[in-house]
């Protein structure tokens, strides 16, 4: 299938979603056109467009996005790797589950913002603290999903493996992990979504050189409502892309799982 054809299908399938964007845009244009709200409060589409072009052509948007994405990559990698490993060993071993589950269940009740004072004491307010913050946020969803995914693998399949004399490692590789994979991937998707949320939050609250949250903060300080809207749209769009990407991956892995719809 050609790329153009794929895009056409994508638009056709998602066009209900585009309608809501279009309607919102028309209302916005109308409100601005008839000056129902002062442009100090609500910038016009033209102002936003100009701000967007400016911030793209100066390269600031690129650098800001790049800064945020690197932070995410680091925090997300650390958080998901640790979360996956702990979730996996807890899923496989009842003893380790008994050992860690109470602690994990207690810690994950702490709202992520509750960690901030401790992170600041330990890591300061520079890069390390932001990465740590994201890592903690990414850690729990993948941990829970990996654990639950492993435990949802039917014992029937384990018996099949026993009859074929699978070793413990082969049992994990061929039965447990593939069976848990759909759940693990939705854990990754949740972790990724959380990471994106947290990076923006961290950048707004403790400034760094480049980041999409920093751009948002400075546009407020410079009283540039056009740029604020640009930042909000970009943040939303990236979140949308992340969701779409992992959603597709999940759907592909889930072909063998027949759900009720």
């Amino acid at each position: 299938m050609s790329i153009a054809a794929k895009i056409t299908i994508f638009i056709r399938e998602k066009y209900h979603g585009f309608i809501s964007f279009l309607v919102l845009f028309l209302i916005w244009s109308g409100v601005c056109h008839y000056k129902l709200i002062s442009p100090d409060f609500l910038p016009t589409p033209a102002t936003v467009g100009t701000a967007f072009v400016k911030v793209v052509s100066s390269g600031i948007l690129g650098k800001s996005l790049g800064g945020s994405l690197i932070r995410i990559a680091e925090g997300f990698m650390i958080g998901t790797t640790l979360g996956f490993l702990l979730g996996a060993v807890m899923g496989v071993s009842r003893t380790l589950e008994r050992l860690f589950a109470p602690l994990i269940n207690a810690l994950r009740q702490v709202p992520i913002i509750g960690w901030i004072p401790l992170i600041i004491i330990w890591c300061g307010i520079a890069e390390t603290s932001k990465v740590t913050f994201i890592a903690i946020g990414a850690f729990f969803p993948i941990l829970i999903n990996t654990f639950e995914g492993i435990r949802s693998v039917s014992h029937s399949y384990v018996e099949v493996a026993q009859v074929f004399e699978y070793s413990r490692v082969k049992l994990l590789r061929k039965i447990v992990i593939p069976g848990a994979l759909p759940s693990i991937v939705s854990g990754i998707r949740l972790s990724m979504g959380t990471s994106w949320l947290l990076v923006v939050w961290a950048e707004i609250n403790t400034r760094s050189a480049y980041g999409i949250g920093d751009l948002l903060s400075s546009s407020r300080e410079e009283h540039n409502p056009g740029l604020i809207i640009v930042c909000i749209l970009v943040i939303g769009f990236v979140a949308f892309l992340i969701n779409e990407l992992f959603g597709h991956l999940e759907a592909r892995l889930n072909t063998w799982k027949k759900s009720y719809r």
């Binding site: 029937s156 018996e159 099949v160 009859v163 004399e165 593939p178 799982k257």
Partner: protein, 258 residues
């Protein structure tokens, strides 16, 4: 030299623990299966047939009595004892050919591919290599499970109602195939079934079980020449004998299912 693969079950009792009291599922089962024999087990639902099979496979622990293979106590499941489970248990995330190759040491080798292909053809699933279990019908899944169990050439093949979901004609075709495989591979087969005709067509001996608790009521030998004639006089006599155990009588050779 004496052939290997003699299965001896002596004074076997199996209890399942429920909330407050123990449920006796199998009561004093005694059975000897010679290498190369075809045994059918027939009995009403819930009488403990699957439990017996699981014990012989080695999946069920905690029993009284002895289960001996060539005089040795069983020690867990083994590649030498293949199983076709009552629910086919194909892995839903693997294609049919990968499912069938599950028990092979090196499923990607040329030789393994050939074996997988042969067994898929054997059960009539050629062309469905790349399909996934949810794309197959119940009967096709059962046939794939049979292929998977056969691929390793087990000494004993245990089948739990393997043809239950098949239509009458495919079932007859599978009877021929099972008999052919059984003769060619010279393996012991123990099959649970509800189909009296099926049991008579295939078995050397039919084990009739009664329930609550599960006991062996009678072992009926089937000394007929193969391939067996379903319409024959001797066939009808044996059928009468089996059905009598269930207080059923027949004077016309139709299929009866227990």
């Amino acid at each position: 030299m004496e052939r290997l693969g003699t299965l001896e079950v002596k004074n076997l009792n199996k209890k399942y623990r429920s909330q407050n009291d123990d449920l006796l599922v199998l009561d004093d089962i005694n059975l000897t299966v010679q290498p190369g024999e075809f045994i059918s087990i027939i009995g009403s639902s819930g009488c403990g047939k699957t439990t017996f099979l699981r014990l012989v496979v080695g999946l069920e622990k905690g029993y009284e009595g002895e289960i001996l293979l060539d005089g040795q106590r069983l020690n867990g499941p083994s590649l030498k004892r293949g199983v076709v489970f009552q629910d086919h248990r194909l892995l839903p995330w693997l294609s049919i050919e990968k499912n069938v190759g599950m028990g092979l040491k090196n499923p990607k080798s040329g030789e393994s591919r050939k074996t997988i292909q042969e067994h898929l053809e054997l059960v009539g699933l050629k062309g469905f290599e790349k399909h996934y279990p949810h794309q197959l019908s119940g009967g096709m899944s059962q046939r794939a499970a049979i292929a998977r169990a056969l691929v390793n050439r087990p000494e004993i093949l245990l089948l739990d109602e393997p043809l239950g979901a098949l239509d009458a004609l495919t079932r007859m075709y599978m009877h021929q195939e099972l008999e052919r495989i059984w003769m060619k591979e010279d393996i012991t087969m123990i099959m649970i079934t509800h189909d009296v005709d099926e049991a008579i067509v295939l078995s050397d001996k039919i084990v009739v079980m009664s329930s609550r608790p599960g006991t062996i009521k009678k072992i009926i030998p089937v000394p007929l020449a193969r391939p067996r004639d379903r319409a024959g006089y001797d066939f009808a006599n044996i059928k009468e004998e089996v059905l009598a155990e269930f207080q059923l009588h027949t004077d016309h050779p139709f299929t009866y299912s227990i």
